[in-house]
Structures are given as C-alpha cells and as structure tokens.
Symmetry: C2
Subunit: 144 residues, 2 copies
C-alpha cells in the first residue's frame, strides 16, 4: 500500500487507542511527511479538531501548499475540504469514501485532484466505529 | 450598530493589540453569545487559527448549530465557510467583504443566509492592516 496512506492509517489507529474517532491524515511535500494528525474531537473536546485540520496545523506555517499532497483515511468534510481549497492544496488522496461521501465534488470543482484508494482496512475501521459510536460520529459531521 | 457585531469588532481589536490580524467573530444562540474568537495565526503560529474557527472552537461541543448565527468582521474564507456548511449554521452576518470577497457564493449555494453589514470601521481596520502587513495577510488566505 501507499506508504503515506499507511502513515495516515497509523494516525487513525492512534486516535482509536486514545478513545477518539479513527481518522488520520498526513501532509506530504517533496516526498516527505511534513505534518501528521488525527481526529481529536473527543480527546480535546474540540468540534473542529478533525484529522486534516490537526495535520495541517501540525505542519506549521509553511506558506505555500500548492506542492503538497493531503492524505486522509476518509473523504474530507466541508471544513477540511475548505481548508484544502483556501490554502491551494492541489491533490487529496483518501483511504475511502464509502462511510462518508464528504466534499469530494466541492474539491474537484475547485481544481483539486481527488483520488479514492478504496482501502478495506480504512472502510472497516470507520464502519466499526460508526456502528459502535453512532452519536459521536454524527456529532463529528454536524448531523446530531 | 448590531451589538453582536460590536462584540466581533472588540475581538478583532484584541487581535490587533496582540500583534495579530484584526478579524473577530462571535457565535450567537438564543440571543446570547456562546463563543468568541479572533484570528490567532500570528500569535499561535497556527495557519488554521482563523477568527471563526477560534470562535466555534471556543463555543465547545454544542452539537447542533442550525439555531446559531455566526458573526465575523470579514467575509469568511473557504475554511471558515466550510465549517459553517458542515455544521449546519444557517445564518452568517459579516462586517464587510470589500477587503476580501471570501466564500459568500459557496455559503449561499449551501442555503446559508449571508448578510454583509458593510461597516466602515471593519473595512478601515482591515485595509489598514493589509496595507501595513501585506505578507501576513496573503499568508492568511493562502496567497503567498
């Protein structure tokens, strides 16, 4: 499997071990990971601590994003897709979109190349979490 | 002037006093402010610490947002507009959009009522900051 997606999955697993939502993300530039993150909504009681937000924040103030690739184990929602559009990220690679359609159309409309690797491990980790914690997941995507 | 916009302006001024970008935001529910925030990109070295993000985070995990109103001294960018769309905020009131067109069309397309109060104080505070700190502003909106 894509080694960067593997790193995003490791982040998702960290989140799960912490009692959080298993979504992980890495930001890649010049073939190297410059930021990692995972969903911390539950851990930090922060409704905006989505995986991609945590990841981009951890990469710091890098200035330009047009040569970065954002990996996420799940298709980004509008919040995270909005970050990608605003900062000019040109490529987003996701582990799956079966559990959440997210904002893929919105990203594509704004010229972002979106690739769905459709990885079974990502799908299962997320569907198991949603089955066991539907209320936490619905809160995460604003559907309470 | 709208008392909630006045509070958003106070937040923007706080940011300016801290050496940051003067954009402020408040989240209102049932006629009361439940969250306040201002842009902290410079202060916290966090590229995602936009005013509206800071504000929504400070409001905590409130669950539903469809009965909230988001005030901002400046038209939200795609990151912050994405948060509003994802969490189902139905009304956004801004101080101005002359210095930044933002993602008003995107929000309207997603059913959000967007009102621009076009307040001179907001316009001037922002235009003065952009004139004096163009590089900080361009970084904030991903246009470095």
């Amino acid at each position: 499997m894509d080694k960067f997606m593997q790193s995003a999955i490791e982040e998702a697993r960290k989140g799960l071990e912490e009692g959080g939502i298993p979504i992980g993300s890495v930001l890649v530039k010049n073939g190297e990971i410059i930021g990692r993150g995972h969903n911390r909504r539950v851990q930090e009681n922060d409704p905006l601590a989505h995986a991609e937000i945590d990841c981009i924040r951890n990469a710091g103030r890098i200035g330009r994003y047009d040569d970065t690739v954002l990996y996420s184990t799940l298709m980004p929602c509008y919040l995270c897709a909005g970050a990608a559009v605003q900062f000019g990220i040109k490529r987003v690679i996701v582990g799956e979109s079966g559990n959440f359609e997210g904002a893929s159309v919105f990203m594509k409309e704004h010229g972002i190349s979106v690739t769905d690797l459709n990885i079974e491990e990502c799908r299962k980790m997320m569907s198991n979490f949603i089955k066991e914690n539907p209320e936490v997941w619905n809160e995460d995507i604003g559907e309470q």
